[in-house]
């Protein structure tokens, strides 16, 4: 472990930029700027290789179409939840209500979506709008009400979960097979198209005016305000986007399970944070890439698959996940520091 000469404070983003350091090569510069993204992609490749290895050891064959399809389908809710979380993480916040919003979306979908195409489209839109509305409430509480994001969303988590249980008291309801096959086709990995779509949406967001504003307030809110950015609006938008994506995640969760359950979304609050961290998002705001977050979501799912095929007692699963999370964060911090120092 390299000696650290500063106390335990968030690394000062200006420290790396200032000073009279010699110029670095282009590749090193890119690596230093995007260390989180690069590490997330490396982790994803490593996870896939390891998965293929343990799969081979177990079945003497390589994973095929079925494994790819089920992995992509099972990861879709997490991809959407994690992207939603990342908008808020960019502003130095955390959205703990994502699980509650997913629960409500899941419950509404199971109760209201029927076989007719009209009800599928109509209720999908309504659920997405409700998700965005719940996010808007969070955003107003944080942006206008000036509450701490963790506290406001902790309280709304309880409220949203309560409403979800009211909508669907017992697990049940049903999702028409057509709806499932459109969102998460069980036979072909068509859901990869949605992953691509999410990546494109992220790219558009990153280039948009509001995207720049959200990155700016995450880096330095006062400077952003001084430069004419409406910080309240940017913050409210980030939470609204988070709610919208959580709503979509709830729809995908219902489609994968083909039935509703007002509690299955709960775990996604924490796993979405894990996926963001593994995807190289800086929890202190203003840095990160949606592509990395998507990779982080897949790594999170792959770890479970790898543990399954390595015959590890499932009771120990959270132990290995926790250990992996710490090791990944410590390593990526160390490598990032190394890359920024070296030329």
């Amino acid at each position: 472990m390299p000696p650290i000469d500063t106390p335990a404070v968030p690394p000062d983003p200006t420290a790396a930029a200032g000073g009279r350091r010699p110029r670095r090569g282009k590749v090193t510069h890119f690596l230093g700027q995007n260390v989180g993204l690069v590490l997330a992609l490396v982790m994803l490749v490593a996870a896939i290789v390891l998965y293929c290895a343990v799969y081979w050891a177990e079945t003497q064959s390589l994973p095929g179409n079925f494994e790819l399809t089920s992995t992509v389908n099972n990861t879709m809710p997490l991809v959407l939840a994690a992207i939603g979380q990342s908008f808020v993480v960019l502003t130095r916040g955390l959205d703990l209500s994502i699980g509650g919003t997913m629960d409500l979306a899941n419950a509404l979908a199971a109760v209201h979506i029927h076989d007719s195409p009209g009800s599928m489209v109509l209720w999908s839109v309504i659920v997405l709008a409700i998700g965005a509305g719940l996010g808007l409430v969070n955003g107003l509480l944080v942006g206008v009400g000036r509450l701490q994001p963790i506290l406001a969303t902790l309280a709304t988590l309880s409220i949203y979960q309560g409403i979800a249980i009211k909508v669907l008291p017992q697990p049940g309801g049903s999702i028409p097979p057509v709806y499932t096959s459109v969102l998460v086709n069980p036979f072909q990995p068509y859901a990869l198209l949605y992953v691509l779509l999410v990546a494109l949406v992220w790219y558009a967001f990153r280039r948009s005016r509001i995207g720049v504003a959200i990155f700016a307030i995450g880096n330095d809110e006062q400077s952003a305000r001084a430069n004419g950015i409406d910080t309240v609006r940017a913050r409210v938008t980030s939470f609204t986007l988070s709610g919208l994506f959580a709503g979509a995640a709830g729809l995908f969760l219902a489609a994968t399970a083909t039935a509703g359950d007002a509690t299955t979304g709960n775990g996604f609050t924490l796993t979405s944070i894990v996926a963001c961290v593994l995807g190289g998002m800086n929890l202190f705001g203003g840095r990160g890439s949606g592509i990395g977050v998507i990779a982080g979501a897949f790594v999170t799912t792959m770890i479970v698959n790898i543990l399954f095929f390595s015959n590890i007692d499932p009771l120990y699963q959270s132990f290995y996940e926790g250990l992996f999370l710490v090791v990944a964060v410590v390593l990526s911090t160390a490598i990032g520091r190394f890359l920024r120092r070296s030329r």
């Binding site: 472990m1 650290i4 500063t6 106390p7 335990a8 404070v9 690394p11 955390l94 509480l141 009400g145 000036r146 509450l147 701490q148 963790i150 506290l151 406001a152 902790l154 309280a155 709304t156 988590l157 309880s158 409220i159 979960q161 309560g162 409403i163 249980i165 009211k166 008291p169 924490l270 944070i273 894990v274 961290v277 929890l283 202190f284 007692d313 009771l315 120990y316 699963q317 959270s318 132990f319 290995y320 996940e321 926790g322 250990l323 999370l325 710490v326 964060v329 410590v330 911090t333």
Partner: protein
């Protein structure tokens, strides 16, 4: 509106009630208000026996919240509380096997386990720069996996043991007519308040919470303080686990889960500033009583599960907004 507010606050200021002290006052007022509401909707709610039972349950939340207060005071958070608490309760019964002569060692072992979990949290946060949210979240998973794995999902032979009678009796007994869990909590309230307000350790904690960099330059060993605070948090979670298993007799899986939300909510209602540097444990103790009283009122009203969730969230939001408003006008 602002003028009206200022007119109301001025006499309070003059009486020596600065913002932090007012927040403690609000937390106590909220608790008293809830007892009054409870008495109206359910006569007998504010009887001494019922208040005693509520404060007794609040003491478990209060102990966990003591640990949470320590780390929140430096702008941290401890998400590993649920499974440190749960692991502690299971470790106590499996290591003591319900026998009194093994109890002292089992207690030491259990408290040591809580401290060790906190130590790992603190070291990773202070030396490796892992964000507190990530580290304690991972520690919660690690403790969950270890607890489930080592106890075979609570199927091991020793897992069905009861808490040693000496521990159970201590929790259920009373001292000078006051339930002993409550006595312990009062002692903890006194010790924690003294520690934070009248010792160099306490002053350094507040200093670190206000500005870690300035504190470091002023000669505070920020890393040591950080580690000690997380150790204290782990220790208090383990202590709550011991008391809970003594109270209920046997350990179960998931018994720590409610304490994460409640400990953080108690800290907030108690007026501790989430970014660190401001707040007192006295307010947090009142916050714990407020929370448990709120749940009890809703239960007394025969509120269904979902309604309790919703009202619980709304009340916390309202309390937060009350504090937030004042924050802006100060």
């Amino acid at each position: 509106m602002a003028k009206w507010n200022a007119a109301l606050l001025q006499p309070l200021e003059r009486a020596g009630l600065n913002r932090d002290r007012r927040r403690i006052l609000y937390a106590f007022l909220a608790a008293i208000l809830l007892f009054a509401v409870g008495e109206i909707v359910h006569p007998g709610f504010a009887s001494p026996g019922s208040i005693g039972a509520i404060v007794m349950v609040a003491s478990f939340v209060g102990l966990v919240a003591a640990g949470q207060t320590f780390v929140v005071l430096i702008g941290g958070i401890d998400l590993s509380v649920p499974w440190v608490l749960n692991g502690a309760s299971i470790l106590l019964v499996t290591s003591s096997l319900g026998q009194d002569d093994r109890a002292p060692w089992a207690l030491l072992l259990t408290l040591g386990m809580g401290a060790a979990a906190g130590l790992v949290n603190g070291v990773a946060i202070a030396f490796l720069g892992v964000p507190a949210v990530v580290m304690t979240l991972a520690m919660n998973g690690i403790m969950e996996g270890l607890t489930l794995g080592l106890s075979g999902g609570l199927t091991c032979g020793a897992c069905a043991s009861y808490a040693p009678p000496v521990v159970a009796d201590a929790v259920h007994g009373s001292l000078f007519g006051i339930p002993s869990a409550l006595v312990l909590w009062l002692v903890v309230i006194a010790l924690v308040s003294l520690l934070l307000s009248f010792t160099t350790f306490g002053r350094r904690t507040y200093a670190t919470g206000n500005n870690p960099h300035a504190s470091y330059l002023a000669g505070v060993n920020v890393r040591l303080i950080t580690i000690l605070l997380y150790v204290l948090s782990g220790l208090f979670a383990a202590l709550a686990g011991i008391l809970l298993v003594g109270f209920g007799g046997q350990a179960s899986l998931g018994m720590g889960d409610p304490y994460l939300f409640q400990s953080i909510a108690a800290v907030v209602i108690g007026g501790v500033y989430m970014l660190g540097g401001r707040g007192h444990y006295l307010g947090v103790a009142a916050g714990a009583v407020t929370l448990v009283a709120l749940v009890s009122v809703l239960l007394a009203m025969n509120m269904p599960d979902y309604g309790r969730n919703i009202i619980y969230g709304i009340v916390i939001l309202l309390l937060l907004l009350l504090y937030g408003r004042e924050e802006a006008e100060d």
